[in-house]
C-alpha cells in the first residue's frame, strides 16, 4: 500500500468518523450527567432531515445547520422532560425518540417533497464545502509532509474541524472548570450536588441540551457535508455505534476520539476494499461492511476491560426523606 492510498483511507476515516465523534461526545455529556441517551440516533436523524430540508429550501447550508440543531434540540427537550422532570425511564424515552424521528422524518419529507421520504439533492451553497487550509497548495509537493497536510489535514468541511476542536474543549470543560466538576458530580452522586445547594435539574438539562447541540451538528454533517441531502434512515445505526465507542472510551473525551476514528477506519476500509481476495478465498463485501457492527458487538460484550459507567446513570433523582 503506498502513501497516497493510506492517506486516502485515513482521509475517508476522518470524514466517516466525524459524525460518530460528535454523537459520542453528545452521549458523553449526557451520560456523565447521569442521563442515559440511546436517542442519539433519533436526534441525529431529525437533525439530518431538517438541515437537508431547510438547506434545500433556503439554499443556505448555515440555515440548514441551525434548523438541524433546532430539530435535535427539540427531541433533547422531550428526553429531558421525560427523564428529568417526570422521572421516567431513560431507555424507554430514548427508544421512543428513535421511533419518533424515524417515522416523522419520512412522513414530513414525503409531505413536503414527495420524493419517498428523501429531500432533493443539494448543491453549491446548500452543502458544506471543503476548506483548503493556508499553504496547502504550495506545500503539496514537499515529500511526506505535503501530501499529509494536503490530503489529510486540509480540505475538510467546517464541521469536521468543529468536531475535532470539540475534543480538547470538552476535556477542558469537564476537568478544568466548575461546570465540568458539577456535571461529573451529578452523574456520580446527585445527592451530593443537591446537598451542596446546586440544582440537579438545571445541570442535567444543561447536559441534555449540549447533547442536543452536538447531535444536531452531527446530523447536519451527515446530510449536508458527507452526503448531498437527506435519505430515509441515513444515520444507519451511527448513534448506537457512537454509544459503543463511548463505552470503549470509558466516558472520556480523548479516548472517544480514538474509538470513533477506529470505527471510522473500519467503515473506510470496507468502502474501499469491496472484495478481499485471500489467495482463493474471497471475503464478500457484506462481511467488510458488517465489520463496524461486529466490532460494536465485541466491544459491548465486554472485551475492552472494565468500563465503569457514571454511578448514577439511568437513575432519576428523587430526593430522599
Amino acid at each position: 500500500m503506498d502513501l497516497m492510498t493510506a492517506l486516502q483511507i485515513l482521509d475517508s476515516t476522518v470524514r466517516l468518523g466525524t459524525p460518530l465523534l460528535l454523537a459520542c461526545l453528545a452521549g458523553l455529556y449526557s451520560e456523565r450527567a447521569g442521563i442515559f441517551d440511546i436517542g442519539l440516533e433519533g436526534k441525529m436523524l431529525m437533525a439530518a432531515f431538517f438541515s437537508g430540508a431547510v438547506a434545500f429550501v433556503t439554499g443556505s447550508v448555515w440555515l440548514g445547520l441551525i434548523a438541524g440543531i433546532a430539530g435535535a434540540m427539540s427531541l433533547a427537550v422531550v428526553h429531558g422532560l421525560a427523564s428529568i422532570t417526570f422521572r421516567g425511564n431513560q431507555l424507554i424515552s430514548g427508544v421512543a425518540i428513535n421511533f419518533l424521528a424515524s417515522g416523522l422524518t419520512v412522513l414530513i419529507g414525503q409531505k413536503w417533497f414527495a420524493l419517498g421520504g428523501r429531500t432533493p439533492a443539494l448543491s453549491g451553497e446548500g452543502r458544506f464545502q471543503p476548506i483548503v487550509l493556508p499553504f496547502a497548495d504550495s506545500l503539496r509537493d514537499v515529500p511526506v509532509i505535503g501530501p499529509v497536510y494536503y490530503e489529510l489535514i486540509s480540505g475538510h468541511t467546517a464541521l469536521v474541524y468543529v468536531a475535532f476542536a470539540a475534543v480538547p474543549i470538552s476535556w477542558w470543560l469537564l476537568f478544568r472548570t466548575r461546570f465540568g466538576l458539577r456535571l461529573r458530580a451529578v452523574g456520580e452522586n446527585p445527592a451530593a450536588v443537591d446537598t451542596a445547594g446546586i440544582s440537579v435539574t438545571r445541570l442535567r438539562y444543561a447536559a441534555v441540551a449540549i447533547a442536543g447541540l452536538l447531535t444536531g451538528i452531527a446530523g447536519a454533517y451527515l446530510a449536508t457535508g458527507l452526503s448531498a441531502g437527506f435519505v430515509k434512515e441515513m444515520t444507519a445505526g451511527r448513534g448506537f455505534i457512537a454509544l459503543a465507542a463511548l463505552i470503549f472510551a470509558k466516558w472520556r473525551p480523548v479516548p472517544a476520539l480514538g474509538a470513533t476514528m477506529l470505527f471510522g477506519l473500519l467503515e473506510a476500509v470496507a468502502n474501499r476494499y469491496q472484495n478481499i481476495d485471500l489467495g482463493g478465498v474471497v471475503i464478500p463485501v457484506q462481511a467488510m461492511q458488517a465489520l463496524p457492527y461486529v466490532l460494536t458487538v465485541i466491544i459491548l460484550a465486554g472485551f475492552v476491560g472494565k468500563a465503569i459507567p457514571p454511578r448514577a446513570g439511568g437513575e432519576p433523582y428523587v430526593k430522599e426523606r
Binding site: R176, T177, R178, F179, G180, L181, R182, R184, A185, E188, N189, A191, A192, V193, D194, T195, A196, G197, I198, R311, K319, R321
Partner: protein, 518 residues
C-alpha cells in the same frame, strides 16, 4: 467540666438554634407535631428517638430539604427562612448525613469545593481548599490526604471529609445523623475528640443517634422524640440511659436482657480450616476454626468486612469454600450440588442473613409469602401435587406474626411496608419457628428500634435456653457483650482470639477488632 460551665455562662445569650412549633405532615402522616427546641451555642445537643419518631424529618426541615407546614426557625435569635440547602449553608448549618453525600471517584479537594467554587475555573478553588484543609487538619485532628479519591478512603476518613466540607463552608452549627453506625470503636473515639474540640471552639453540634451510651458520653443536653412529638429536653448530667429509653418507647425497656448461665451441651457446629477466595482472587477467610455447642450463643465480633459476611454465607449455603464443616457430627458439603441453602435447612441450619432486605426478604412480596420462602416445599403448604395451599400459608404466617409481635400483624401487606424491626421479626419468625438445631444470625438488630431490640434479644436467649446453638455475627459490641456466652473476634479473615464476656471489655475487643493481638 469546662464545656458545661461555658454552657451555663452562655445560656443567657440567644440560642444557636431555636425551633418554635414546627409541624410537618406527609399526607395523613404527621411526621412532626408542634416541635419546639432550643439548642444553646457551644454545646453538643443529642436527639434520640426510635425510627420514624421524626428526627430525620426535623433535621431535613432545618437543612432545607422540606418546608415546615407551620412554625418558625431562629438562628442566633433571628428568624430565618430555609427554603433550600443553599439557604441552610448560608445560615451556617452543616450536615453530615448517615449515608455520606460524597462523589466516590472525586478527590477529597474536589468534594470539598463542590458547590462553593471560587470562580469558573477550578485551579484557584483547589489551591485555596488545600490551604484551608491544612489549617483545619492542624486545629481539629482532621487529617485526610487532600488528593486521595474518596473510594480509596476508609469510612472513618470519609466521614472526616464530610465534616471538613461543613467547616469549609464555615458552618457554625453541625448536624450529625447516626455518625458512629459505621465506625470502629477507635474511630468513634476519634470522632468524639473532634466533636469535643469543635464545641470548645464555640461550634454548636447536634448529634442524632440511637446509641444511648454515646448520648451519655458526649452530649451536654438531650432531646427525646416519640411519634413526631418532642417528649422532653433534659440535661445529660441529670438523666440516665434507662430514663431516656423509657421516654423514647413510652414504657419501661430492659436495655440488657437478663439471662442465666449457659448449659452448653454437645458440639452442634464444628468448623475447621475454612477458606474462601472471592471472585477477585482475594482470600476472604484464611482458615477459620470454631465450634458452637447446643445451648450457647457464640458471638462473632469484628469491624464489617473482615470475613464475617463470608462465614455466614458459607454456613448458610450460598458461598463455596474449602475446609471442613460438621453439623451434629456429620460433614456437610461445601461445594457442589448439595451445598445449597435447601440442603442446609434440611440439616437443621436456619439463617437470618445480615442484609435482610436483600437476602432475607423479597420486599415487594407479601409477609405471608416471605414467611414461607425457603420452606415453601414443606408438606403442610401443599394442596396437592400441583398446587400450593395459599390459605394454609397465610394462616401459618398470621399465627407466626402474632407470636412474634409483628406490627401490624397483617399477613397480606408487602414486606416493604413494615418497619426495619418488624421486617426482622418476620425473618426471625420464619427461621426460629422451624425449630432449627443451629441458628445463624447476622446483625440481629441493625436498624431496629429499641423496643424491638429487647424482643429480638429475648427470643435469641430463649432459643439458647431451649438447647439450640446460636452463631451471632454483630458489629455492635454492646450486643456481643450482653448476649454472647463466648466471643470470637475476626480480623482480616482470621480469628484473632476468643474471650468470655465477663472476662473482657470493649477496649480489649476493640484492639482485637483492629488486628492488634492482645
Amino acid at each position: 467540666m469546662g464545656a458545661r460551665q461555658q454552657t451555663e455562662r452562655q445560656a443567657t445569650a440567644a440560642p444557636a438554634i431555636e425551633l418554635r412549633a414546627i409541624s410537618k405532615a406527609f399526607g395523613p402522616v404527621q411526621a412532626n407535631k408542634d416541635i419546639s427546641i432550643r439548642v444553646e451555642r457551644g454545646t453538643i445537643h443529642g436527639i434520640v428517638g426510635e425510627n420514624g419518631a421524626g428526627k430525620s424529618t426535623l433535621m431535613s426541615i432545618l437543612y432545607g430539604f422540606y418546608r415546615a407546614d407551620a412554625g418558625e426557625i431562629l438562628i442566633g435569635g433571628r428568624p430565618v427562612q430555609i427554603p433550600d440547602s443553599q439557604a441552610a449553608i448560608r445560615a451556617g448549618i452543616g450536615m453530615v448525613f448517615q449515608h455520606f453525600k460524597l462523589v466516590q471517584n472525586f478527590t477529597v479537594l474536589e468534594n470539598v469545593i463542590l458547590g462553593v467554587e471560587e470562580g469558573a475555573l477550578l485551579r484557584p478553588s483547589l489551591n485555596k481548599a488545600r490551604r484551608v484543609l491544612g489549617d483545619l487538619a492542624r486545629e481539629y485532628e482532621l487529617d485526610v490526604d487532600p488528593d486521595a479519591a474518596i473510594e480509596d478512603l476508609s469510612v472513618g476518613h470519609q466521614q472526616r471529609v464530610e465534616i471538613l466540607k461543613a467547616l469549609y463552608r464555615q458552618a457554625d452549627i453541625l448536624i450529625l445523623d447516626e455518625p458512629t453506625g459505621v465506625l470502629t470503636p477507635d474511630e468513634a473515639d476519634h470522632l468524639f475528640r473532634i466533636l469535643a474540640s469543635l464545641r470548645d471552639q464555640g461550634k454548636t453540634i447536634i448529634l442524632i443517634t440511637h446509641k444511648l451510651r454515646e448520648i451519655m458520653e458526649i452530649t451536654d443536653a438531650v432531646s427525646v422524640m416519640r411519634r413526631g412529638e418532642m417528649v422532653a429536653t433534659l440535661k445529660t448530667a441529670s438523666t440516665s440511659p434507662e430514663e431516656l429509653a423509657e421516654r423514647m418507647v413510652g414504657r419501661k425497656v430492659l436495655l440488657h436482657v437478663p439471662k442465666g448461665p449457659a448449659n452448653p451441651g454437645r458440639n452442634v457446629l464444628e468448623v475447621e480450616n475454612l477458606r474462601v477466595v472471592d471472585a477477585a482472587g482475594i482470600e476472604r477467610l484464611r482458615g477459620i476454626g470454631l465450634t458452637v455447642r447446643a445451648g450457647e450463643i457464640l458471638g462473632v465480633a469484628g469491624v464489617a468486612g473482615n470475613g464475617q459476611s463470608e462465614l455466614l454465607k458459607v454456613l448458610g449455603g450460598f458461598q463455596r469454600a474449602t475446609g471442613r464443616v460438621r453439623v451434629n457430627g456429620d460433614d456437610i458439603d461445601l461445594t457442589g450440588r448439595r451445598s445449597d441453602g435447601q440442603t442446609r435447612r434440611a440439616r437443621g441450619i436456619a439463617h437470618v442473613p445480615e442484609d435482610r432486605q436483600a437476602l432475607g426478604l423479597i420486599m415487594d412480596f407479601t409477609a405471608w409469602e416471605n414467611c414461607a420462602f425457603g420452606y415453601h416445599n414443606a408438606p403442610e403448604y401443599q394442596k396437592n401435587a400441583l398446587f400450593m395451599d395459599n390459605a394454609a400459608m397465610q394462616a401459618d404466617a398470621q399465627a407466626k406474626m402474632e407470636r412474634f409481635d409483628v406490627r401490624p400483624p397483617t399477613a397480606t401487606l408487602a414486606a416493604k411496608s413494615f418497619s426495619g424491626g418488624n421486617q426482622q421479626k418476620i425473618v426471625l419468625a420464619r427461621e426460629i419457628e422451624r425449630n432449627p438445631d443451629l441458628l445463624l444470625v447476622g446483625q440481629p438488630t441493625r436498624g431496629v428500634d429499641i423496643g424491638a431490640i429487647e424482643f429480638i434479644h429475648k427470643r435469641l436467649v430463649a432459643l439458647r435456653d431451649a438447647g439450640k446453638a446460636v452463631l451471632m455475627v454483630s458489629v455492635e459490641l454492646e450486643e456481643i457483650l450482653s448476649l454472647s456466652d463466648r466471643i470470637v473476634v475476626m480480623f482480616d479473615g482470621r480469628i484473632m482470639g476468643e474471650r468470655l464476656p465477663d472476662q473482657t471489655n470493649e477496649r480489649e475487643l476493640g484492639l482485637l477488632m483492629a488486628g492488634v493481638a492482645a
